[in-house]
Symmetry: C2
Subunit: 199 residues, 2 copies
């Protein structure tokens, strides 16, 4: 159907400019944080299709105990695509950025594996959000362990979040995010000059 | 400009059907393998924006030696988005699927880390492609180590690829792919009934 094909090409070409202007704002907002009652974060259903930043195994702020060392967990970090694209251009996180930390068990036995560890079942999901609706512009959320995963979570408060904020303020390479652990973003931040002093 | 906004909405709504039909084939082909001279695979520049499947640390077919055990590498696996979406609906890989295995060094020292390992610099990139232009429908590629990364690679041939094919035929959970190591896809394959016997 060459007639239909030509119509489609013309339509798409003419419409592209109009559509892109109209849709860009919606698309950018569309993959950011969504809330119930203003500040209860809805767990994103599609974060596995977001941008992968990096993965660590058994990462710990404190020397791990024997149990943790014997069965370490993987942590996969994802960020919403529109904020990723913004960071790649500016080295900064826009308002409406949402990070997901997905924790998974690991195994060293199975299939052809003779060494090393691979990822297995989900153990928990956490989030960090940059959003001007929160008092200092950032908030932390915990959707709980996988066996009782919550569909939505209120921002962490009190002493537990004070430790999050303190650590994410003192030890992070860019704003409140551990870009030093995301090698491809670290290069971008270096180029854009957005790394904190000391990095 | 409410007039422009209304025009944009109408245009987008009317154009969506025509555009989606015309663009879908192009989009699907667009993120698949691209070749020089018919079968030399061009290294995809944007694979970090593809779908992340999983990550392993120090995975090895053979018991690792002391050097490998002391500084294990991470392997991140990505697949092109249109093939991912197809797999999520069918549990099978369409023609034109491309997997990227990105290898990275690991470190256990830096920043606030007191235990575990995180990812650092790129060490190499490999690819596996499902494409009917190859004799048995699949091909393997190695873009070489990071210090001399190739822009394009010919399909591996001879004894080295014979071992790839043998292992990816005997030990894989779905077609020639190690879906047993990709926990979110493993569930899909189980639901769709596409796992090989024994899985």
């Amino acid at each position: 159907m060459p007639g239909l094909k030509r119509l489609a090409v013309v339509w798409c070409a003419l419409g592209a400019v109009v559509c892109s202007v109209a849709m860009r704002a919606q698309q950018s907002a569309g993959d950011g944080p969504r809330y119930r009652d203003g500040k209860t974060l809805i767990r994103p259903a599609d974060y596995r299709e977001w941008m992968f930043l990096s993965s660590g195994l058994g990462l710990s702020y404190e020397p791990p105990n024997a149990a943790a060392a014997a069965s370490p967990r993987f942590g996969n970090v994802f960020v919403n695509p529109s904020s990723y694209r913004s960071f790649m251009q500016t080295g900064k996180w826009p308002d409406g950025t949402i990070f997901i930390l997905e924790n998974r068990s690991s195994s060293g036995e199975g299939s052809i594996t003779k060494g090393g560890r691979f990822q297995t079942e989900l153990t928990g999901i956490e989030a960090e959000v940059k959003d001007s609706r929160f008092p200092d512009g950032w908030a932390f959320f915990n959707f709980g362990p996988a066996r009782s995963l919550k569909d939505a979570a209120e921002p962490l408060a009190g002493q537990s979040v004070a430790e999050c904020v303190d650590c994410h303020t003192k030890n992070t390479a860019v704003e409140r995010t551990f870009v030093q652990f995301y090698p491809t973003l670290l290069e971008v931040a270096r180029t854009k000059g957005t790394l904190k002093p000391g990095f």
